[in-house]
Subunit: 381 residues, 2 copies
């Protein structure tokens, strides 16, 4: 469990790993890390300033009954409708839109792509609202999730409305790329839904019934797809060629998968004093994270022993079960899950860099996207 998100023991994990880890711009304990150039933080501050007014205007345009849910979800209002300080998340996805547009089309393209950035952020938050209902997650961004405050039906309806707002923004945008961007974003929504569907289905299966390829495909659909789409929309708004759009999409997807792999490693072996979540929480929830499934599918006695341990639900009041978490973590490591995940993450980041170089050959132009990719994947485990 993280400090930003909690769920009942045994419930399936959430989509929103990019946000549930707490501050990403710094290490888990809040100290700026060695790779924390001012660049990523500066990019994100600039993005919030560019995106928030239009994002908020979109939410304000909703009828009152849905507006209050949106304003609450984005942290701009308390449940009673009084103003709140606001914690609308890290704006990684809108940052990728604007930074990709700038990389391929300069400041004018960046300025022209704000509506696309807002649309991506609206889609992301529509999926958060729905996923929190399905996963019965009770905390997001340090606050009770919308469904726990307004009820499941209202949270579902607010999510539906946010999807509509996203596609309306693009439909109303006179930019020549807006229709292609809307089609691509709608395709991405379908992929996000399929990813969430796969996740719920995988979590219902036994530990010996899950393949590594399908967990990787699920992670790509749930986490990689929207990061890729955000980059692709920036490229479209910069008037880039189809080849460059495809390459930037792949860059975002690969960076997203690298992030997920590292996040899963930290979920098992991260230092609780730095991660802000208790040791072994992902294992206690029997989460079918990437290192675990890699270990389970590795064959041999270590995998079989791990499957036997993972089969039995965790009982937080049972001291033996607590002790077993260490044995499970050791089992995942002995079966090669940790090494595989770290090698995969490095491989994915290398692929992301290749795609980035293909789309944006000038390292200076690519600097912003590189900083964001390092930002989302940097971890101090």
């Amino acid at each position: 469990m993280t400090e930003t998100q909690q769920r009942p023991a045994g419930a399936r994990p959430s989509t929103e790993t990019l946000e549930r880890r707490g501050p990403i711009a710094t290490d888990r304990d809040g100290t700026p890390g060695p790779l924390d150039g001012p660049e990523a933080a500066g990019i994100l501050d600039g993005v919030r300033a560019a995106v928030d007014p239009e994002l908020r205007a979109a939410i304000e345009s909703l009828p009152p009954s849905l507006r209050r849910i949106g304003l609450y979800h984005f942290g701009w209002q308390h449940p009673d409708g009084t103003p709140a300080a606001g914690n609308a998340g890290k704006a990684i996805r809108p940052a990728l839109v604007l930074t990709a547009a700038a990389a391929l089309g300069g400041p004018a393209a960046r300025a022209a792509s704000v509506a696309a950035a807002v649309a991506v952020e609206l889609v992301h938050n529509f999926t958060l609202l729905h996923d929190d209902v399905m996963d019965q997650d009770t905390t997001r961004r340090h606050r009770p999730t919308a469904w726990t405050v307004f009820g499941e039906a209202d949270a579902i309806l607010a999510g539906d409305a946010l999807q509509a707002l996203a596609l309306r923004l693009l439909a109303q945008d006179p930019h020549p790329a807006s229709a292609a961007a809307a089609a691509r974003l709608a395709d991405c929504v379908v992929e996000l839904c399929a990813g969430q569907q796969a996740d719920t289905a995988l979590e219902k299966r036994g530990p010996d019934e899950v393949g590594l390829d399908e967990v990787l495909a699920m992670a790509e659909a749930k986490t990689g797809a929207l990061l890729g789409c955000a980059c692709a929309l920036g490229a479209l708004y910069a008037g880039a060629s189809q080849e460059h759009v495809v390459a930037l999409d792949a860059f975002g997807r690969e960076a997203g998968l690298a992030f997920q792999l590292i996040d899963d490693v930290i979920g098992i072996w991260g230092d609780p004093s730095r991660t802000g979540k208790p040791a072994g929480a992902d294992l206690a929830a029997r989460k079918k994270s990437l290192p675990v499934v890699a270990a389970l599918t590795s064959g041999g006695p270590a995998a079989a022993e791990l499957a036997a341990l993972y089969e039995k639900p965790y009982d937080r009041d049972d001291g033996d079960d607590k002790e077993a978490l260490h044995r499970i973590a050791l089992g995942v490591e002995r079966a090669g899950g940790r090494d595989w995940a770290q090698a995969q993450a490095a491989d994915r980041m290398a692929r992301a860099m290749q795609e980035l170089a293909r789309a944006v050959p000038d390292p200076e132009d690519a600097g912003g996207l590189l900083a964001l990719a390092e930002f989302v994947t940097r971890r101090s485990n």
Copy 2:
């Protein structure tokens, strides 16, 4: 309860009144009624033929995990994936799109507006999938609802994907009106969500806490908005003036409200042998239908007595409660609810005709839309 839709006693009523009454092209008992010109039935057959291939292609484009839910929901597959005869509903909304386009732009406009018709039908079915989850309705179109077969999460995700498909179809449509149509359809989605939100909120309140204006506004948002939007999209695709688009939207909204009023009257006083639902089912569910709220808000002793009766939940095993349904129906009638609803329905239809005449002055051109409006509002109570 109708033959097409059932819900647990006390649960709130569904959106989908246009479909839950069984065949609309004929009287409730299947006998063609006096107003059944061949025209409406012919229009609807033609619409299904024009729309179904593209509708089905859209569903087939989904990833397998979501495709099977869509194919089941539209009646094209059984739960196990084997082919089914198909019962995708009455296609009223796509019929309004195509017929409005034909009325204002002739056969070429009708042919060009198929994507818009499919988009409207996808939005309609996305709301059905979600509303059935929220309302816990267990039967639709004579079959178990999708969530009862695939689970709530999968039904929500399939609905999300259908909304995305709808807006993708318009984003990919090269027609010059497609962006305006997408923006209008997205606005309509927001209104549908607000209407459903209002409905769930109203059903939680006591019988003396509901105003007639808010129930009318809710019915317009839930039922009228998408019928109006369908007509407006047809007008947009015909290249009609803004004034004509607005008038056709109003035509659809008013006809939709007339339908809802008549449907609510039949829900109380309809002949069970013709309606296919037990007498007093809406009253047993304590449904805050339009005639009931008109009666409750009429003032005087009949309204107060009705409120007292309506306050207490219905117990199907209590003979006294069964007996009380007759007293409630009589109370609604004595307090003026029935007369009000019938007068309102006539008034709404008159307004619909005025708007239609404004948008399509030539009666011959307006004939198709007139036939569809009569078709949806015709009832043999």
